[in-house]
């Protein structure tokens, strides 16, 4: 396909997405489900790409995502809950006076600065997650494959337990969780943040450091013999991935408006693992696609399986609450059976790929004929 055609297609696609979002912004009330699925999809897409950076490109099988998301989410939430709402949120144990004083100080800032607080909060959340990752990376990254997965999983659970522990009641509000978190002022914002985050990770993957990560994934011993310091690069990948996971955690807090430690259980990590496996480990566009597909089918498309349905007076058996997840699991199995390496494998989205996919049924015939003639 010609380069100019691809350019036009790219521009058309981006324009369509922006138009859709603007349309949704103006029709918030009618399209509630679509909006929330798209927002959650965008947030999970960041985590999925970040996890892919670690699992798919650096070859480190880590399962700590939920923990890093929790750090980002709590940091963002504590930062953003308005002072006026604080006493209502921390009604049981009261808030730590230091945090309250800090919040009162930052609320006196000029309004243009306050408008930046959501972004600042997300970045601070990401930085905290990254710092924690740097700390646990030192012992954990000496482990390999399954052992690394177990260790990161353990740390993720430790974070969750700490957040809900009574000792931190005045900071994290213990098991009551945090609410009254301000949401996004505009529908476009989460998509823009997601776009920027994913773009940064793509740039990293295609840089010289990204190549070093891939070398480590392919063969650690050879990578080391090529002068790549294993620990330094693994730690780098781990910290960067955790940063973006933390940012996404903060976005999740802003999206859900209220969080509790239970939100960040192992199940969340498994959801993201599912997304990258379905999308294709080692494919950024696969992860993004997977994030939207999995979120949409889990929360929306399969909803009708949860309600009893009657067709021509005949009540369909089995349709009841929870049946959706059965169908979802079967679908997953089908996808994994037919696409062993996920929907995208290690390939990235390209117009040529789409073109070949459309052309495939026709070209296949041709080769079959050629084969018969021989």
């Amino acid at each position: 396909m010609k380069k100019s055609v691809k350019w036009i297609l790219n521009v058309v696609m981006i324009a369509l997405v922006v138009l859709l979002l603007i349309f949704l912004e103006n029709n918030k009330s009618d399209q509630g489900m679509l909006i929330s699925v798209l927002q959650k999809g965008a947030i999970l897409a960041i985590v999925a790409v970040a996890m892919n950076l670690l699992n798919g490109f650096t070859g480190l099988f880590s399962l700590g995502q939920a923990g890093f998301m929790a750090i980002g989410a709590y940091t963002t939430a504590i930062f953003l809950i308005p002072v006026a709402a604080v006493d209502g949120v921390y009604y049981m144990n009261g808030i730590n006076p230091g945090i309250k004083a800090f919040k009162e100080v930052i609320e006196t800032a000029p309004s243009w600065l306050q408008a930046c607080y959501p972004y600042l909060a997300l970045i601070v959340g990401g930085v905290f997650a990254a710092l924690f990752a740097a700390l646990i990376g030192i012992p954990v990254l000496r482990l390999k494959s399954d052992y690394l997965a177990i260790a990161t999983l353990g740390f993720s659970e430790i974070i969750r337990a700490l957040l809900s522990s009574p000792q931190f009641d005045t900071i994290t509000n213990g098991s009551y969780g945090l609410n009254k978190i301000p949401g996004f002022s505009n529908l476009l914002i989460p998509f823009i943040i997601a776009g920027v985050c994913i773009l940064l990770m793509i740039l990293l993957i295609h840089s010289t450091y990204g190549r070093a990560f891939k070398a480590i994934r392919e063969d650690e011993i050879a990578a080391e013999a090529m002068g790549i310091n294993l620990f330094k690069h693994k730690e780098m990948s781990f910290v960067i991935s955790s940063f973006f996971t933390g940012v996404a955690g903060g976005m999740l807090a802003m999206f859900m408006r209220s969080i509790e430690a239970k939100t960040f259980s192992i199940a969340l990590t498994y959801d993201i693992l599912l997304i990258i496996v379905i999308g294709g480990i080692g494919s950024v566009t696969g992860s993004v696609l997977g994030a939207f597909l999995v979120t949409a089918s889990k929360e929306w498309w399969l909803r009708f399986f949860d309600q009893p349905q009657t067709i021509f007076g005949w009540e369909v058996p089995l349709f009841r609450t929870g049946f959706r997840m059965v169908i979802f699991s079967i679908l997953l199995m089908v996808v994994v059976l037919f696409y062993r390496r996920g929907l995208m494998g290690t390939n990235e989205f390209s117009w040529d790929g789409i073109w070949n996919f459309i052309k495939k049924p026709f070209t296949k015939k041709k080769t079959a004929k050629g084969g018969a003639a021989q």
């Binding site: 940064l200 740039l203 990293l204 840089s207 010289t208 450091y209 190549r211 070093a212 891939k214 070398a215 392919e218 063969d219 011993i221 050879a222 990578a223 080391e224 013999a225 090529m226 002068g227 790549i228 310091n229 294993l230 780098m236 960067i240 290690t346």
Partner: protein
């Protein structure tokens, strides 16, 4: 006339109770091609792994350009287990990781090919340039190092052309024929700009014609890149033709060393190693 590039001093490598390399001392001089031969299990690859930092030696020291790069003595549990000699000769402990050794200018290939199989030939060589680049992760992500990146790519392109991998540069490394994979592994090692090249059985699994090509190739790169080559090899034609000197290892110990003619006529070598080959 010649100065040491690599010197091993009383290197002993012991795994648990097994002594893989016993009191090995050898020298490789600048501009030489030196071969290390010996029957299977003689400890040749272990010696390589000690030089490149994969294993820290149990006892002994390694010098590169007359500078000590590795030195160790038995520690912990090994103090009781140690069966070798020269205890207390190396009080200083200096252990380097493989990437640090590569930075010093020692590059190696592997006995069982270790390419980045899913990456293209071009990327395989380009990755070797990573360690000599100066950008940090931020400037690399934001493409502030685009000049350096461009230079790296141009150098790689040039390099691939010189080494005759131009036609396959976009192919996956894992999909190349065996001979070319060996070729690429050497090319990749060369791209780290070494002064000493360690080849671990470069001709393993090659037919006579491929071996001939490889011989010419090693000679060529040695002259062009001003290298010193230290290699492990089983193909006696290749070893006898190409090497300036040979060390023979058996059960972890040097049993002979010298120029190819001496080695060919040394009765101990024939008994341990060459004799078996002549019968076959």
């Amino acid at each position: 006339m010649s100065e040491n590039v690599l010197r091993l001093e009383n290197v002993t490598m012991q795994f648990g109770g097994v002594v893989a390399v016993n009191d090995l001392s050898l020298e490789v001089n600048k501009g030489e091609i030196v071969a290390l031969i010996g029957p299977n299990g003689a400890g040749k690859t272990t010696a390589f792994n000690v030089i490149t930092g994969v294993y820290a030696p149990t006892n002994g020291a390694v010098y590169f350009n007359n500078e000590q790069i590795i030195s160790n003595h038995p520690q912990g549990n090994m103090k009781k287990l140690y069966k070798g000699e020269n205890l207390g000769k190396f009080p200083h402990v200096m252990i380097k990781t493989p990437d640090q050794i590569t930075h010093l200018g020692v590059a190696r290939t592997f006995q069982n090919i270790r390419l980045f199989r899913e990456l293209s030939v071009f990327e395989n060589v380009l990755i070797a340039k990573h360690m000599r680049q100066s950008a940090n992760v931020f400037s690399a992500t934001f493409r502030l190092n685009y000049k350096e990146e461009k230079q790296m790519r141009e150098e790689t392109q040039e390099f691939i052309k010189i080494l005759g991998l131009e036609q396959v540069k976009n192919d996956k490394a894992g999909s190349l024929p065996y001979g070319q994979q060996r070729h690429l592994e050497i090319a990749r090692a060369l791209a780290t700009q070494p002064s000493l090249l360690l080849l671990d059985e470069p001709a393993a699994g090659m037919n006579p014609q491929e071996t001939q090509e490889l011989t010419a190739f090693i000679r060529r790169i040695k002259d062009e890149y001003n290298l010193t080559v230290f290699m492990i090899e089983h193909h006696m034609d290749l070893v006898m033709e190409i090497s300036d000197r040979i060390y023979v290892l058996d059960f972890g110990q040097t049993i002979a060393s010298g120029v190819p003619d001496e080695i060919q006529n040394n009765p101990r070598v024939i008994e341990a190693y060459l004799g078996v080959q002549q019968d076959a």
